[in-house]
């Protein structure tokens, strides 16, 4: 995330530099240049908005350790976790597609533990994924709790080991569970996080 933020700030720096370059040209009074400047300023604004969004997510992530168990919306947590995972996915040429994040699913749990649990599963999916197909992450409500399904088409030569000890330990501490099933090369990693 800090790499992304660095890019945003770097872009803002270059774009404002471009404004200075334009301002120094003899053509400043030309109507075309004035329009160009306005378009450049708009680009600065969009990057600044992007930066503000990233900082908000970073702050939200940084404050995860502030409280132990607390009431939180699993959909919001999952949205942040997916945002955290996106650059890692892009570096491996994978894409993440989400569904069900518009619903509210309230749980009482340690947000940090939930992040560790879910991020560990997404990392696992990224490690085994065929990059030509998107990884689908969906959130639903069940009797047992909030259910996160990660569907991933396995790439060639995928190792057979299943969930890591860390992810399994998080599941135990949350009182939840993790299941992995295979069907025709499609691996489904299902995480269940109880409401309380």
């Amino acid at each position: 995330m800090t790499h992304e933020l660095n890019n945003v700030l770097g872009t803002i720096e270059q774009v404002t530099g471009l404004i200075e370059d334009l301002a120094e040209t003899d053509a400043i009074r030309d109507h075309g240049v004035a329009e160009k400047i306005l378009s450049v300023v708009d680009r600065v604004g969009k990057q600044a908005e992007r930066g503000a969004g990233l900082i908000k997510r970073l702050n939200s992530f940084a404050h995860l350790t502030d409280e132990g168990e607390t009431t939180c919306n699993l959909a919001e947590l999952l949205e942040n976790i997916v945002a955290l995972s996106e650059r890692k996915a892009r570096m491996g040429k994978a894409t993440l597609v989400t569904a069900g994040l518009d619903r509210e699913i309230i749980i009482t749990a340690s947000p940090l533990l939930v992040v560790q649990f879910v991020y560990g599963a997404i990392k696992r999916a990224l490690a085994i994924a065929d990059p030509t197909e998107p990884i689908r992450i969906s959130l639903t409500r069940s009797e047992a709790g909030g259910e996160i399904s990660i569907d991933v088409r396995c790439g060639q030569g995928v190792p057979e080991d299943k969930a890591t000890d860390t992810t399994a330990a998080c599941a135990t501490r949350l009182g939840g569970r993790i299941e992995e099933t295979d069907s025709d090369g499609l691996r489904t990693i299902k995480l269940v996080i109880p409401y309380k």
């Binding site: 890019n7 770097g10 872009t11 720096e13 471009l18 570096m91 040429k93």
Partner: protein
């Protein structure tokens, strides 16, 4: 007026497009690519005097691209750019084969100087 041809490679399109535009105001003919494979395609189709590559690229990394260019175009100087401040442990040493390693955010004046120096140094080597 230099009119040196530069190829910039960075997956952050807004950043690299703006940098290219600023270099045009400084008499460089600047083009950009947002991935290693796209950069290699452009190198096959056009002639450049210097290449500037971000160390962190998705898919084919900046270092892999540097090595590929070094093998295919040994006459072409390459500058690398890193998001970690140079001199920090994370930035590491200048990769083998690179003319220099520059930190982000890029200082346009420093970039112009380094590119010009690299082109001239490689030109001297050719003689």
């Amino acid at each position: 007026m230099s009119e040196y041809r530069v190829l910039l490679v960075d997956d952050e399109e807004e950043l690299v497009a703006t940098l290219a535009e600023r270099l045009e105001y400084r008499d460089f003919l600047a083009q950009y690519a947002i991935s290693g494979p796209a950069a290699l395609r452009m190198l096959r189709e056009q002639t450049f005097d210097v290449v500037v590559i971000d160390l962190k690229l998705p898919g084919m990394s900046g270092e892999e691209l540097l090595q590929t260019i070094g093998a295919a175009y040994p006459h072409l100087p390459v500058l690398m750019v890193t998001g970690h401040g140079s001199g920090t442990p994370e930035a590491g040493e200048k990769p083998a084969g690179a003319y220099d390693l520059l930190p982000k955010p890029i200082d346009i004046s420093e970039l112009v100087t380094k590119m010009t120096d690299a082109i001239k140094a490689h030109g001297l080597k050719q003689k």
